[in-house]
């Protein structure tokens, strides 16, 4: 249990600045998830917190204590690595107790802590096995067990589920959610998988090119993205973007002429000017397909149809652009057929050419 304060840190590798200047506070007992595309600096940030990378400027405070210059073990952290990083020549028992062995913890204390962690992670039967004799899921549990035995103040998890197959990943996600409740510790979790981020996080930090794009609760980010990057990154399938031009600005709203051939009135929160290039964002699940409903009508052709059983994803061509529609009614939509779409205005977002959201919170977010 600890509060982590990252204070204006800068990280450079040679002449390349991977984290320009970043500040973040992770509250006590919070499960904070860092998400972002590959190379956005999230793993580097985690390694900085762990003490595996030195910083070029700024400070790291754990419970108010400056730990920037301290070695990893002195920071009171434990880390679960993407590749598990289990020592191949040690059995499960020694892997889990190695950190304690190094810190000269009494033998009986090591035995009892390892036994407790093994019991909690259902690893009791495997204590004498080497890592190569374990399945991927079991290895992952050993890696988590190794972190638990050290009773850290801060847990760091670097894409811990990315090496597991899809089914196992779901199981381990549930397992981590259970551990989160059980351990009640401060945890920082890095992933590029937004499902993990949305389901596990108390708070999500969306990163891009070493900068924080937005911080907030999962649904808050999903429903109130501050910019086009966050809007496009969270959600699967991703949010659709339709290009357009501002035709008129009046009474706190903008009329946008879409390239797809229709106009839409969007209530504004930011500044746009007539003639300015903008993008209209709308999530696949909010678009109505072949329904007589309120909303801006657009017509297109079903180019690709992906039937998943519970949902059908229809990729609709609108002139030069393609948008994805999620249909949960189990209807069979033929590929190549003409379809009518409705875009509910209250579900639309508007982004200016810098990517900033300029529309007011949509109706869905306000209702939430």
């Amino acid at each position: 249990m600890a509060t982590l304060q990252i204070d204006n840190i800068i990280k450079r590798f040679g002449t390349v600045t991977v984290i320009p200047e970043l500040s973040l506070t992770v509250k006590d007992r919070e499960f904070c998830v860092l998400v972002g595309p590959s190379g956005c600096g999230k793993s580097t940030l985690l390694r900085i917190i762990a003490g595996l990378e030195a910083i070029n400027a700024g400070r790291l405070l754990v419970d108010g204590r400056d730990v920037s210059a301290l070695a990893p073990p002195e920071r009171g952290i434990a880390m679960v690595f993407q590749s598990y990083a289990l020592y191949p020549h040690m059995d499960v028992n020694r892997n889990m107790g190695f950190g304690l062995e190094i810190s000269r913890t009494p033998r009986n204390e090591i035995v009892s802590r390892v036994a407790r962690a093994a019991e909690s992670l259902h690893l009791g039967k495997f204590l004498r096995r080497r890592p190569r004799e374990l399945s991927g899921g079991q290895r992952q549990r050993v890696a988590i067990g190794r972190a638990i035995t050290r009773k850290p103040t801060l847990f760091l998890l670097d894409e811990p589920l990315s090496n597991l197959d899809a089914a196992l990943r779901v199981n381990m996600r549930v397992e981590i959610a259970r551990l989160k409740e059980e351990l009640n510790s401060t945890m920082i979790y890095v992933t590029h998988d937004q499902v993990e981020a949305m389901t596990l996080a108390d708070r999500i930090v969306v990163m891009n090119e070493g900068r924080i794009e937005q911080v907030g609760a999962p649904l808050e980010l999903y429903e109130q993205p501050g910019n086009r990057f966050v809007a496009g990154f969270l959600g699967s399938p991703a949010m659709n973007f339709l290009s357009g031009t501002v035709a008129q600005v009046a009474d706190g709203a903008a009329r946008v002429d879409l390239t797809a051939g229709t106009s839409v009135m969007i209530p504004l929160a930011g500044r746009v000017e007539t003639g300015q290039f903008v993008e209209l964002g709308i999530r696949p699940e909010h678009i109505k397909l072949n329904e007589d409903d309120d909303g801006v009508p657009v017509s297109g052709r079903a180019a690709i149809v992906e039937m998943l059983g519970s949902d059908t994803f229809v990729h609709v061509r609108l002139g030069d652009e393609t948008i994805v529609v999620r249909d949960s009614h189990g209807r069979r939509i033929g590929k190549g057929l003409d379809v009518d779409l409705r875009l509910p205005v209250e579900a639309c977002y508007l982004f200016d050419q810098t990517g900033l959201r300029v529309s007011r919170l949509n109706g869905l977010a306000e209702a939430a």
Partner: protein
């Protein structure tokens, strides 16, 4: 032909070829043992095996030479060299590959160039150097030069292994609280064990068989190593091929036993080093 019989025929042909190659390869060794077991009159008979077999040559070389002392000299020099080479090269490879100490790569590149210097060109300067230090006719006079000559090759092998090891393991060790020394001892060394075995055996063989430098540095009879002994059975005006080959057989025996003992690890180390990309 069924698939199974086709594959067993293939395997038979492969094994037969390998046995023929092995037969050719083993000829000098078999001939060495065979000549050692012949009487002087049969020594130059152009046959692989001559009858009757006699152990007289082995008795001669054992009686003529204080073999226990000579064997001990060889063993002390070889074991000390192996320990020095393995320790120094493992530590250097760790510093270079894991700790990435400043300047270590420059030293590594410099050491590599020494692999290209032939021993013959080093003998004269080495002899002068050893005489200056007073190390002629001492164990150190061979242990230090052998170690210096063995370390670069060992570093190449061990560094390749450490470069290949998952870096996250070393990070995990740091998070677990290991110092550099503890990371080296508890994580790096066990990870490169096959390479350590390979380097140790290789260095053992090279040092045990070394003749040229030993001949120059060791002039006193009680300091001689095994490889110098055969010289006395082959001279300009005399030759005792039976005794010569008997002592050569005795010299080769420890190496053969050692190789049989650790053959698996040796081959594993050899292959893993070879496929490093």
């Amino acid at each position: 032909m069924t698939r199974i019989s086709r594959s067993s025929a293939k395997s038979l042909a492969l094994h037969a070829t390998l046995f023929v190659v092995l037969g050719f390869w083993m000829l000098p060794l078999v001939y060495m043992v065979s000549v050692g077991l012949r009487s002087p009159s049969q020594a130059f008979d152009p046959v692989l095996f001559a009858w009757p077999v006699t152990f007289a040559n082995f008795i001669t070389v054992i009686r003529d030479n204080p073999l226990t002392g000579i064997f001990l000299n060889s063993l002390i020099i070889t074991v000390a060299t192996v320990i020095t080479v393995v320790s120094v090269s493992a530590l250097f490879a760790f510093a270079c590959s894991v700790l990435r100490l400043r300047g270590s790569l420059v030293i590594y590149a410099t050491l590599l160039t020494t692999l290209m210097v032939p021993l013959a060109s080093l003998v004269l300067p080495l002899a002068i150097l050893l005489k200056t230090f007073g190390w002629v006719n001492t164990y150190w006079g061979l242990i230090f030069p052998y170690s210096a000559l063995g370390v670069p090759f060992a570093i190449v092998i061990l560094k390749a292994f450490m470069d290949d090891s998952p870096k996250e393991l070393f990070d995990a060790a740091r998070v677990d609280g290991c110092s550099s020394w503890q990371t080296f001892w508890h994580v790096a060394l066990p990870l490169v064990r096959p390479a350590l075995v390979f380097v140790a055996i290789w260095q053992f063989i090279v040092t045990w068989n070394e003749f040229f430098l030993a001949l120059i540095v060791l002039t006193r009879a009680e300091m001689k190593t095994l490889t110098i002994v055969p010289m006395q059975y082959s001279g300009l005006y005399m030759a005792n091929p039976g005794a010569l080959f008997a002592i050569l057989t005795l010299i080769a025996l420890p190496l053969i036993f050692l190789y049989v003992l650790v053959q698996r690890a040796f081959v594993r180390g050899l292959l893993a080093g070879a496929v490093k990309g």
